[in-house]
């Protein structure tokens, strides 16, 4: 019997402003192609239509929103040099995604529940929604975004036009944390359950993910 040397990895990446209009399926396809381009010894599924063995580890992000803590799991046929893997991923990750880090996928991480921190930006003209959200009684509470927090999210918007657009259309928002357990819902659905609110009114930015096991 041959020894099973397969090894799972976790890529953390940014989904920048310019990438907010791709669907989750588009993103998955783009990431699988990235893996193929890297030339790494990717492990393929063994079914009728072999595909790279991958999984999206964060909750899928809706169209219209951004993130700097998306996690994508993939498997190689055997453990490789992490430096080489990092170099290959940095070279091939498609714009407008941004490489953050890569490492071995911690055991049990796929089932690990976490808490996602969202920065929610509200369009100019809808400022009353900030007040409305701040007064909501939700677990963890809602806090107004500080200037520093807004600026820290802005590093995502490398493109000059995008940064200008952000200034033009969005003048503030709030921070909100959500558990990713079985009851996970999108932040806009929790805060504004009575209305269907689209990205023309608000967009949310996933700032970070805190794992329950390490909290």
């Amino acid at each position: 019997m041959t020894e099973d040397l397969r090894q799972s990895y976790e890529l953390t990446f940014r989904r920048c402003w310019e990438a907010r209009f791709f669907s989750h399926l588009d993103l998955m396809r783009g990431l699988m192609r990235m893996l193929r381009r890297t030339g790494l010894q990717v492990y393929f599924t063994e079914g009728f239509n072999p595909k790279p063995r991958v999984s999206y580890l964060t909750k899928p992000l809706s169209v219209g929103h951004t993130s700097e803590c998306e996690r994508f799991g993939f498997m190689l046929v055997e453990q490789g040099d992490i430096g080489e893997i990092e170099t290959a991923l940095k070279k091939h990750i498609p714009s407008p995604l941004g490489f953050e880090s890569v490492g071995l996928l911690p055991s049990g991480r796929q089932k690990d529940e976490s808490e996602l921190e969202y920065y929610i930006f509200i369009r100019r003209g809808h400022e009353r929604m900030i007040e409305e959200a701040l007064n909501r009684d939700v677990p963890g509470g809602v806090k107004e975004l500080t200037r520093e927090q807004i600026e820290s999210a802005r590093v995502l918007y490398d493109h000059t036009d995008s940064a200008a657009m952000l200034d033009e259309y969005y003048n503030g928002g709030f921070v909100f944390n959500i558990d990713t357990g079985s009851g996970y819902r999108r932040p806009d659905r929790i805060l504004f359950p009575e209305a269907e609110i689209g990205p023309e009114v608000l967009f949310f930015h996933r700032k970070r993910e805190l794992f329950n096991s390490s909290k």
């Binding site: 791709f22 399926l25 396809r29 192609r33 893996l35 193929r36 239509n49 259309y169 689209g198 023309e200």
Partner: protein
């Protein structure tokens, strides 16, 4: 960008894909907007469009950007917010470019061309644009009968883009630099081989159709230009990898151009002659390189009938050596039955078997001889046996109804043949537990220009509907998936492909009435088209359902593809006598008029 959150599939309109070109706007000597009058997913699947985009950007000082037709919701948003239609690279309006080029590959996209021009900040009619830039150019398969669109286009490119690019770009760039007025530039372009400038010709009405005449400038006829040796033709080193899934989301390897089979109904088989193959070694090298740049999981061998490729065994071996360890599938879009072997089938299926498509086209031997589809029932059944033997699970069959000389017996022949194919599938126990193993796609024959059937009348809509109903009653739809093409769409396709210059009025009227994306069932409104024909005082049936005199001038007679009228007429006569013509690969040269590399085989 502010409108994007409100439209469906906003990813269609953002660009920024891997391998997209980003040339400097300010430094460019010529700026082209390359337009595809369909949605992004379809346009990005078109190999010719992608080839031109990358090759143009590879020319010194040339900037080329892409534009696709906005879906109706995006059109409303752009118009409602006073925003122009923009390119995906620099987000500039069409009116800011020197040249706006359209790829016309399907007649049902004509109204989208008008939408794009108008939204891009340009007048639709060439005469209304007058002396102002940009220059509006169009090419592609539909340009072999350019007349219906000639009111809107300044210059048509007749032939293969690669053969023109450098010459044409140089002339236009020089004119721009020298400040040459547009009419003078048009005159110069009209004198170049393969370029057709409608405004430089006279027209006259004869036998109920408008035909193009020489205006005494010595520009008649317009001869097609094409690449002579495929291995010497420029090929881009990379292609764009779309984020939004394209219809054909794969590496497309063009194995050869031109068809050797001579099917008499097939326009592409006639207008893309002669046969020109690329060498297997180059194709394998190109495939490996594109895989490294794109990461696609499928390679498609693009050609009319891939098994005709002389080096197929070597090509497949080379491709599979690389594809197998990377789990990349190799596919062929369509294969002639008599050339599909068990060996090829097995090799193709080895990596990842998708469905296999075979095209008998007609149900009886008599009618297959008329259309020069030289295959017997036994060969069809053998091909199915081979395919199933090689492990294929799903088979798709293409048929046509409304072919010249067709009778109800021929239609019944389709059902009878399908019954025998189902028996083979049952014998081989290929029918899966779930789903149907056989799909039957039945389209309506449109007699296209530059084919031996160009003089034939198209079957009427009533007759086609009757045949569809008859066939539906004969097919066991519990076991076979049966798809029919919409007869009204086919009828309009017939009118547009066989039309003359008068149809410009109809197209414009239909567009004003709201016709968009006419090839899409959910968008197509035959009522609006009827209204447009009524407003223009034109009876569409006269174009589609009336035969033409073989010796008379046709609306497309001024365009010469290289295949001679003599050859087309000879094939037409042979069809009526039920005589077939052998493939150029197997028989003697058929003398179509285009000397090719097979002539002295």
């Amino acid at each position: 960008m502010d409108v994007l959150p409100r439209v469906r599939k906003p990813g269609r309109y953002v660009g920024g894909e891997l391998n997209a070109e980003r040339a400097e706007w300010d430094g460019a000597r010529l700026r082209l907007a390359l337009c595809f009058p369909e949605v992004y997913e379809i346009g990005m699947s078109n190999l010719g469009f992608s080839l031109l985009y990358h090759l143009l950007n590879g020319l010194d000082g040339v900037l080329c950007e892409r534009v696709f037709a906005p879906w109706t919701d995006m059109e409303s948003e752009l118009a409602g917010n006073g925003m122009p239609l923009y390119t995906l690279e620099s987000f500039r309006a069409l009116s800011e470019f020197d040249v706006v080029g359209f790829s016309l590959s399907y007649e049902m996209t004509y109204t989208n061309v008008l939408t794009m021009l108008k939204l891009g900040g340009l007048e639709c009619r060439a005469a209304d644009r007058g002396r102002t830039w940009p220059l509006v150019i169009a090419g592609g398969g539909c340009a072999c009968n350019p007349e219906p669109m000639s009111d809107f286009i300044d210059v048509f490119v007749i032939g293969e883009g690669e053969a023109f690019l450098e010459d044409m770009v140089d002339v236009i760039a020089a004119a721009k630099e020298a400040g040459t007025p547009k009419p003078e530039l048009l005159e110069k372009l009209a004198g170049m081989k393969g370029l057709y400038v409608p405004s430089m010709y006279d027209v006259e009405k004869g036998a109920g159709r408008v035909v193009v005449k020489d205006a005494g400038r010595g520009l008649f006829p317009v001869e097609r230009r094409y690449v002579e040796k495929m291995d010497e033709a420029p090929v881009p080193e990379k292609f764009i990898v779309p984020w939004v899934e394209a219809v054909h989301d794969r590496i497309q390897l063009e194995v050869f151009r031109g068809c050797v089979q001579g099917c008499r109904y097939c326009q592409a088989g006639m207008i893309y002659r002669p046969f020109r193959a690329r060498s297997a070694g180059l194709l394998v090298k190109e495939s490996k390189s594109l895989y490294g740049d794109m990461g696609c999981d499928e390679v498609s061998l693009l050609s009319f009938n891939a098994p005709d490729y002389p080096e197929m065994g070597r090509l497949l071996d080379g491709l599979l050596e690389h594809a197998t360890p990377n789990s990349v599938s190799v596919s062929m879009p369509s294969s002639r039955i008599d050339t599909f072997s068990e060996d090829v089938g097995e090799k193709l299926r080895r990596v990842r078997g998708t469905g296999l498509t075979l095209a008998p086209e007609a149900g009886t031997q008599r009618l297959r001889d008329v259309i020069n589809k030289r295959i017997t029932d036994e060969e069809i059944l053998d091909a199915v046996r081979h395919a199933i033997g090689a492990g294929w699970k799903k088979i798709k069959l293409y048929f046509m109804i409304g072919l010249p000389t067709e009778t109800m017996e021929d239609v019944e022949g389709i059902a009878s043949l399908v019954g025998r194919i189902m028996n083979v599938i049952r014998e081989k126990k290929a029918a899966g537990r779930k789903g149907k193993a056989l799909t039957l796609s039945v389209s309506n024959f449109v007699p296209k220009p530059h084919t031996p059937f160009q003089w034939d009348a198209m079957d009427t809509m009533e007759s086609l509907l009757e045949k569809q109903k008859f066939l539906r009653g004969l097919i066991d739809t519990r076991r076979v998936k049966l798809d029919f093409h919409d007869v009204r769409t086919s009828f309009l396709e017939g009118v547009m492909s066989r039309g003359d210059r008068s149809l410009g009025r109809v197209i414009e009227e239909a567009w004003k009435l709201g016709c968009r994306f006419d090839g899409w069932t959910e968008q197509f409104s035959f009522r609006r088209w009827e209204e447009a024909f009524g407003a223009a005082g034109i009876e569409p049936g006269l174009y589609a359902n009336r035969g033409m005199e073989p010796l008379g001038a046709l609306p497309w007679s001024h365009i010469r593809t290289g295949v001679t009228d003599k050859y087309l007429f000879l094939e037409y006569r042979k069809s009526r006598e039920g005589r077939t013509t052998e493939s150029c690969l197997r028989g003697a040269c058929t003398g179509c008029g285009l000397g090719c590399e097979l002539k002295d085989k």
